[in-house]
Symmetry: C2
Subunit: 80 residues, 2 copies
């Protein structure tokens, strides 16, 4: 996970690589399910063989402890 | 659809608004299904209440007639 600022807002971003579009889309849907369960929604960029997840907290325009927890939970989805 | 250049590559981009995350994700999956059927894959940015689709052709680093066709087919998914 890379902490980065976009338009002055701190975010946590990580790129996940996959062998094809189908596997990328499956990961997108897993992350979406996590987001709904957590009532916290990242941006999810789905491309051929790649998904980029970005977590941040809109309400504070930056990073909250919860974003780091959600990032860790996103990593855990890879093993499922 | 807005034609725009990103890193010197011409692309077609459109933002679709939805009432919540679930509806946005449903649209993401419809576009993904279209992409697999067309053997042509856009980038799909899924956010709370919003999906941004970007079509372009990697092989020519720009826009091909097929991108415009896929953009029109993406619009048609809204009515389904």
């Amino acid at each position: 996970w890379v902490p980065m600022a976009r338009d002055g807002v701190m975010m946590l971003e990580r790129e996940f690589k996959f062998k094809n579009f189908k596997l990328a889309l499956e990961f997108t849907n897993k992350v979406a399910e996590l987001a709904e369960a957590e009532f916290h929604h990242p941006s999810i960029l789905t491309e051929w063989g790649k998904v980029t997840i970005t977590w941040w907290t809109h309400a504070i325009n930056g990073l909250h402890k919860n974003d780091f927890i959600c990032a860790a939970k996103t990593d855990a989805l890879l093993d499922n």
